[in-house]
Symmetry: C2
Subunit: 339 residues, 2 copies
């Protein structure tokens, strides 16, 4: 690879000192017009661009924001990233995106790598494995040293820091209420294992809706999907009960779509025999047949808000620290054909 041009080379080439070049390139009036123009022209000709590493090191400012997500193939996370991007770019920040693959060790590595000078702030959605283990010391360290850090969606309750979360409980509540309003009585939920906070919250809201309307919360109607195993088989259990439910709330889009497939496989009609509602911000719901009613998660907004919070922390002066915030993003029911 041929070497890139730098200030020193320009200086040597033009017979001036590096500091003169540096100043001339930022149009400093310290430098004479003629020299300035000569240097600028030369720099342009050779397409000089300052080395960002050197700049970052010098300024102690990278203009980068780190983002750690559990999975990049999950549409929700990419929506959030788009939202982060949009706000960050407006302020000339770039993103460094890392994927933990829901593994604790990868997450720890990513955190270390990013916070050792590469970024000015960090946005994280915590890996499932970290949540299971309850091992948050890598984040605790950052909190302790006041490193700008914002969590979104998958957060740790006992960890200080700014957070942006979906109002999962109300979302679940509205999902339950919606099914009840549609005249459904035997309501099932397809959710995640208990260490996944978002699943738990959605389930809690759902249960609350059932309680309020005096609907029985049947333990047979609760499926906790383990993604290690065949998802469809697990969901299919609902259809092997003596009394098959007539309404299903799935805590994500994929589970909802699979539930719909299972329903139709049995020759049952949606929404007549079975209503299905999902929880998502995805692409699938509009494309299924019938289209899927969902609780909209607004990932893009979440990203916006998350980015605003980190930028705020980054700009924050040492003396005027704000208390930690938890921003709650509201959901809403998007009614389509499946209910």
């Amino acid at each position: 690879m041929s070497k890139k041009i730098n200030i020193k080379i320009i200086a040597a080439e033009l017979g001036v000192s590096p500091s003169t070049v540096s100043k001339a390139l930022k149009d400093s009036h310290e430098i004479g017009r003629e020299t300035r123009e000569k240097i600028q022209a030369f720099a342009k000709l050779y397409n000089y661009k300052p080395n960002s590493l050197a700049l970052s090191l010098r300024n102690q400012k990278t203009m980068n924001i780190g983002v750690i997500i559990p999975q990049i193939t999950h549409h929700f996370f990419t929506r959030v990233i788009s939202g982060i991007e949009s706000v960050a770019n407006q302020k000339d920040y770039n993103l460094m995106i890392c994927v933990s693959k829901d593994l604790h060790e990868k997450e720890v590595k990513n955190v270390e790598m990013l916070t050792n000078g590469s970024v000015d702030g960090l946005i994280v959605s915590i890996a499932n494995e970290t949540l299971e283990k309850g091992e948050f010391s890598h984040f605790q360290r950052l909190v302790d040293e006041d490193f700008p850090l914002v969590f979104f969606d998958r957060v740790a309750p006992n960890l200080k820091g700014d957070k942006v979360i979906v109002d999962d409980e109300t979302g679940g509540y509205n999902a339950g209420k919606h099914l009840i309003e549609k005249g459904k009585n035997r309501l099932a939920i397809i959710t995640t294992p208990e260490h996944v906070t978002v699943g738990v919250m959605r389930e809690r809201g759902f249960k609350k809706a059932l309680d309020e309307q005096n609907k029985y919360y049947n333990q047979n109607y609760v499926i906790r999907v383990e993604e290690k195993f065949d998802i469809e088989k697990q969901i299919d259990q609902l259809f092997q009960l003596k009394e098959i439910p007539d309404g299903i709330f799935a805590v994500n889009e994929t589970y909802a779509a699979i539930a719909m497939k299972c329903t139709m496989k049995r020759g049952m009609q949606i929404p007549r025999d079975m209503a299905v509602i999902g929880f998502t911000d995805g692409v699938i719901s509009k494309l299924t047949t019938p289209t899927m009613t969902t609780i909209a998660q607004h990932g893009y907004n979440m990203g916006n808000k998350t980015a605003e919070l980190v930028l705020q922390r980054i700009d924050e002066k040492e003396n005027e620290k704000l208390p930690y915030q938890t921003v709650v993003i509201q959901t809403n029911v998007v009614e389509r054909e499946s209910t």
Copy 2:
């Protein structure tokens, strides 16, 4: 933000010189056992981690690979990224992912930002706008200075460089052949505008299959979707013809799913009245009803291969330059219920 610990601080604290600390931390035998252990213990206690910016600047090596994609919410791209990640991580490289949003200007900015010291190599799928304009000078510069650069999927024919592409033409050909084998006669294609190379190639292959089997390539059966406008309306045109087609090849998953919806909306049966085949590496095809037959794109493999190529270029010695490679990833038909 409280200041991070560095070598200088450790040195001062322990009353030794910075270089002693540096050596001790990498367990150099130049340093006496006692001092070494003292320093290591201290570093561990205060959780010292070397500043990566300084390391990169010093070593002229960042251990980062830049990735520029047009859209992060497209599942295909995230699959490729996963593939890149997996190979890169094995060799201790990290990814810096940037999104061009299919805009030329953003792409140029991303290229500049990444190649000014932030990464050792670059992986790019070119923005639509860049392809339309045919303006590749920002890439040409990199090629000229032998910067490690690999394109994938959306490539520029007249640009030198390593490339990893899908065998779109054969894919399109197989799609056509598959529909014909299923006994379909009036074959339509839903494709992209003409500047999108991948769409053009798929169309070319499709046409070839039709030619071989003496099927008429009806211009009314070609829909070029402009994403600016309502996609469903554009696709619906196929169903307003006097003679509605009985087979559709859509060059991506979304178009295929919408085509299926249009079909069912008309009360037509899939695959009896209308067979639909898509082109994708996505999540939707398994979840539609009926499930969708597709040409599998193998994005993950593509990512693997792409990463291998950049790493190869990065390691390459100045004198032993390999000629540019174009790797072609084969597709295959995944038959499901829609054909």
